[in-house]
Subunit: 244 residues, 2 copies
């Protein structure tokens, strides 16, 4: 939403490669493909056809093929896609073929959980440093990562060559934090704090509101508990006047 501005004033107009514009939904699916492909690779599968892989990840074969085709030609006809190769290629597309340093802001309960989450390393991310404002936490080491005071983020971020950040702090002053972080070379931010912030141009920001997911699920559960998939309000409440 905040990441979709970008006027089409692309300098290099005459490109050889397809260079299509790729939707975020495609990228999201790519991530799933890669996850499944790695499992397949571990199981020793070498090649797979589009409709088999599509079945495993829960999309249509056509969609899978189109997703992949946005990045060029992948598959060998009548042998399908090479599992290992394709997994590597997707990693390269996403920039996760080499481990990237990530900074964590906020060493509360969630922050600590993220620090000890094993899933990041094997997906190409390494939380290199943590930040907090709490004097109790600053200076300590959590799961192998030192916690610095937010005041020094500019220096520390550059020192560790951090390009991505995760926000798991208190909501107070979050926007100011985002601005500073973006100003220090961070290009992408994953925000767990349930507070709306916006990133300056050139920096991508992704919200992850856990409670919001629950709300969606609650809606789904409630709606098809009553009507099958039609949601309407009971006729008794058109939200009138009440203007104090």
């Amino acid at each position: 939403m905040s990441t979709s501005e970008q006027t089409g004033t692309d300098a290099t107009t005459q490109q050889k490669r397809p260079a299509k514009r790729v939707s975020l939904q495609t990228v999201e699916r790519l991530s799933v493909y890669r996850k499944v492909l790695e499992e397949l690779d571990r199981d020793g599968v070498e090649n797979i056809h589009s409709h088999d892989l599509a079945g495993l990840v829960g999309v249509t074969p056509a969609q899978l093929r189109r997703d992949l085709a946005s990045f060029g030609t992948f598959g060998n006809i009548s042998r399908g896609y090479n599992v290992y190769q394709m997994s590597r290629t997707i990693s390269r597309i996403m920039g996760t073929d080499e481990t990237q340093s990530v900074a964590l802001f906020g060493v509360g309960d969630l922050g600590r959980a993220l620090l000890s989450y094993r899933g990041f390393e094997e997906r190409g991310f390494h939380i290199a440093v943590a930040f907090d404002v709490d004097g109790e936490k600053v200076g300590r080491v959590f799961a192998g990562r030192r916690c610095y005071h937010v005041d020094h983020l500019e220096t520390v971020l550059r020192e560790f060559d951090v390009r991505m950040a995760i926000l798991a702090s208190r909501p107070e002053g979050l926007q100011a934090l985002v601005d500073r972080v973006c100003g220090s070379g961070v290009q992408a931010i994953l925000n767990f704090v349930p507070k709306r912030v916006s990133a300056p141009g050139g920096c991508h920001l992704e919200e992850t509101d856990i409670a919001s997911k629950l709300e969606m699920l609650s809606f789904l559960a409630h709606t098809d508990a009553t009507a099958a998939h039609t949601a309407s309000l009971e006729p008794g409440e058109p939200a009138e006047g009440m203007t104090a």
Copy 2:
């Protein structure tokens, strides 16, 4: 995908109320609207126009109006929408106007973080019970919630009248767990475990893969670091042969 079948053979063909089909994206936005509306309500704002609210949440006024209109008529012309009323109405639509009991599976780092997360209660969710398989954890109380052994989930879930569940366990045997949970009256599951599972009919399942979000951000950061928004593969790697 699995929730979009439903032929239009609606019994009550002559409905007064709109009863349109609502997309998940709309619901996701509703959740954001409500969050912002509650902030506004706390700040004492009583009414707001579509374009002001739209500006705050980052959508177009037209989209906001249409989202709301899928559920009936909300707004007072030339006074806009009543903040408090609308917030309540959205809660009612999502079924979060009354607190719902949620079960947590897996009391690892993430599970404990979720247990101590304060955001749930104020959004209408209460993690009532926790489950684990670890003998060290079963029987203990975490942040006020008792941890039961997964073996007894059927009894405990019914006892606490749980309709929603959060998965934060180990990936082993996850599908079996999902099946049992769904068989015990749970209608919606939020899955944090990075493993693909499917829910039986009538039960909704939502994936939340944190690493996947980072991958998306990594992609975005890498692509507009090179070309503005066009992503292509370097010409050197068409993923040929290599079939061992």
